[in-house]
Amino acid sequence: MTDAIRIKAPLTDDDVLKLKIGDSVLITGKIYTARDAAHKRLFELAQKGEKLPIELKGNVIYYAGPAPTKPGYIIGPAGPTTSGRCDPYTPTLLAHGLKGMIGKGVRSKEVRDAMQKYKAVYFTATGGAAALISKNIKAVKIVAYEDLGPEAIRELEVDNFPVIVANDAFGGDLYQEGIKKYKR
């Protein structure tokens, strides 16, 4: 493993501003799962100026819908899902204080611009490494939208959850840089 930076969630602006694309990061603390269905609901509430079921300030959202939990386990395999599906809703959540996102795949220009404006960071976790990733989840609690099943909002307590900074608060984009570096 390349040397990893350890951070605690929720995040402060200082935490975010320390991170640059390509950094390996281990996150410990509380994060929240939400996929596009939950995003749509959060977005609609935020637009109406209503209270959200979770606090966004400083928090990290993980785009994930876990597999069912086998008896004796805390959670089923829970890898990242494609972040792009949440892009239409993300700038609004960032404006409400969201500081970090974990998912897989590229983000839209609107999201990247909003990340710079509101100082936020986008991490990628390894898509498909769901069995491995679930080992870093220590506790799970459904906190909203239970009716959405795997898409409900869950509060996860994570311990050294392994991610890589894909987009930082300075406009850096590892997807573009990476491909430039290794293209032949």
Binding site: G76, K104, G105, G127, G128, K135, A166, I179, Y182
Partner: protein, 279 residues
Amino acid sequence: MREVSSQVIVDTVARLCMEANYYLGDDVIKAFEQGLQKEESPTGKDILNQLLKNAQIAKNENIPICQDCGFAVVFLDLGTDACVKGNIIEAVNEGVRKGYTEGYLRKSIVSDPIRGKNTGDNTPAIIHTTFIPGDKIKITVAPKGGGSENMSEVRMGKPADGIEGVKTFVIDRVLRSSANPCPPIVVGVGIGGTFEYVAFLAKKALLRNVGERHPDPFYADVEKELLQSINNLGIGPMGLGGRITALDVFIETHPRHIASFPVAVNINCHVARHKSAVI
């Protein structure tokens, strides 16, 4: 005529759904190991190592490799001298229901594409039936994840496009997919047939084992060349830059109409799952 009870179909499909989701093929594991030797990006290497560890955990603990346990795509090769007692389609769906429920696999199917709710048991399956000589039934279950499926495409080209047109389309499709299909990917390519059949060919291509070449040396060479070109794109594991973007490229072909030139690209992620059984 050999009789096969529908319960055997149910149990076999259920078992294959679980095995495909828990046990990644040795061909894919080997491809990760070989990729690790060739990968130049340190992040890429970290990711390949994670994928190896992940596959090991899933196998040891009988848990899914990926939380997206896929659409249950089932290939039925029915021997014309075999006869299933009861409704075979119902039996396949019952098998999917059983496998996904008892196996703690994620259910990802909504009943109607616009107004639907989750069906709760991952049915219905997508079933492709072919008739083969003999009295055996071969069942293949290939659960297909959404992330990679979404990066697939059919193109009705012109006959003048030829093989160069196919190569350009495939490479462009992979480039536009970038990180979304969870690279390293496996690329299935269909050429020929009709609009709907070419997509089937691309899907069927994904059933081959990594490293297995097309029997026709012409297409085998195109597969090798495409793999090289894709790995020169620099997309790398999870799209973060690197050498190993694809593990393999498989082509399947069919005769075409003189006026048409259908090409399909079906992208699979590194969780290139498929398990078969012969009854």
